[in-house]
């Protein structure tokens, strides 16, 4: 179960706007899914270690060698807004 307030909190963490008319239906859908997920509570997992990665990799590190960076115009090309050779964003302090 997830209620309206929890949904708003999670949406806030995920930076997703939700319209008023989306709230109840979304909360209901998520609750159905979460209830189904919760069936795994039946499983006894005592002593079972979590798996974060499958497979073994021995040499996952990179040697400290410089590789060419992107030309600036290429880096900036897809940006929605650019100024002074940088990515322009609304100020975090702005209201």
């Amino acid at each position: 179960m997830i209620d309206r307030d929890e949904l708003l909190h999670v949406a806030r963490l995920a930076r997703l706007a939700l319209r008023d008319d989306e709230l109840d239906s979304t909360a209901a859908e998520l609750s159905t899914i979460l209830d189904h997920i919760a069936t795994f509570d039946e499983l006894d997992l005592g002593g079972v270690e979590p798996t974060a990665h499958v497979g073994d990799v021995d040499d996952s590190l990179r040697t400290d060698e410089v590789r060419a960076s992107l030309p600036r115009d290429v880096a900036l090309a897809p940006a929605p807004a650019v100024r002074d050779d940088g990515f322009l964003v609304p100020s975090p302090q702005g209201e």
Partner: protein, 477 residues
Amino acid sequence: MAGHELEPVIGLEIHVQLRTATKMFCGCALGFGEPPNTRTCPVCLGLPGALPVANAEAIHYGLMIGMALDSELAPVSTFHRKNYFYPDLPKGYQISQFDLPLCSGGKLGKVNIHRVHLEEDAAKLNHAGASGRIEGADSSIVDFNRGGTPLAEIVTEPELRSAEQVGEWLRLLRTTLRTLGVSDVNMEEGSLRCDANISLRPTGSDQLGTKTELKNMNSFRFIERGIRAEVERQRALIEEGESVTQETLHFDPKTESITSLRSKEEAHDYRYFPEPDLPPVVITEAMLARAAAELPELPAAREQRYIDELSLSPESARLFAWRAELADYFDAVRASEASLEPQQAANWVTELQGRLGDQEAVDSNVTAASLAKLASMVASATINQGGAKQVLDQLVEHGGEPEAIVAAEGLEAVGGADELAPIVAEALDANPELTERLRGGDMKPIGVIVGEVMKQTRGRADGKEVTALVRQQLGLS
């Protein structure tokens, strides 16, 4: 609480930019003042599909730091994602470490280390003024050159008790890191950044009070002043019966004022989880052996060596060992004049540093060779202390060679019976009354006679030698 003595409890979080060739998770060269956004690639711009690969050298530097701080090194270390949105964080998460940091525990000086972990630096956000794309909106510009620079975050236990102790300990930490060669440790350039967690409690209590976090102070002086100001602010609050609020603070060194950084209090929930793009890093015997082999002599060992092998005073030994640049300079002075007594060399290095303020000796006008020369001229009585200090003043001001300055200014010591005896005799003749009193056993006026001789020799005579000659000529010895 009024009536109880309050003591500060201070813990530090220090972010150190590592001096690798490339960023933490991509092959971009580290940026140092290049034009904006010229040190980026799909990985450090967080482009769709790009993946991080950890820099082996950053892990190596992390291990060296752990060894230097006497930490326990993890056999397997994992990266986690710390999730939050901010324009300086291109992926919407920072790759950091969580429950399996590279180094746990440890100690430097008298302060226990909580942990050391590796992470990536954020990009730089520059204020752009009030003319964004939307009329009147306030804007910022992001430069990703710095984004992804490898950072070691060093966290101390909350064991520091004063601003002065923090300053002294941070200098030791800086020296340690500089000696290791893992970082430029330059606070002004941001390669060493320090946050302090500060709270007060009744002296002797083992409870912790509500702490505040003082952010990103970028010089030793500001750190000490900032901590002092925050301690006083908290003390005043508590003494007036008010409570301290847990918050993040900024210290403005210009106004000495402390302001809260986040007006909108937002609960953080970083949703840490293991970084699926990076397999756990297995610390091999070979990695440990290499880090151990590259470990240079650390400050504590250097301090002990100066005492044991050079018989330096404990004060000189610590002064130099905790300040590697100064110790290196001291070593250079000694190397230049092998016959110098180490403590004498140390005294002259200390004398020089006293005149330099914040400037490092090695960056001054005075080369190690010329300071060594000066010290050995004193040792061989070619010049006396007073003259040497005059020469040092000149060296600090203009540089140059001590012999040339001595010659040009005529500062050679005047000494030996041949040279001094006639001048002493002259001074006694010129002051018959005092001479009589001296002969009569009243030694008070001897200073005047010595002063007269010093005046005649323009300070180049040795006071003790003059006194001895006076007594000899009056038949008093």
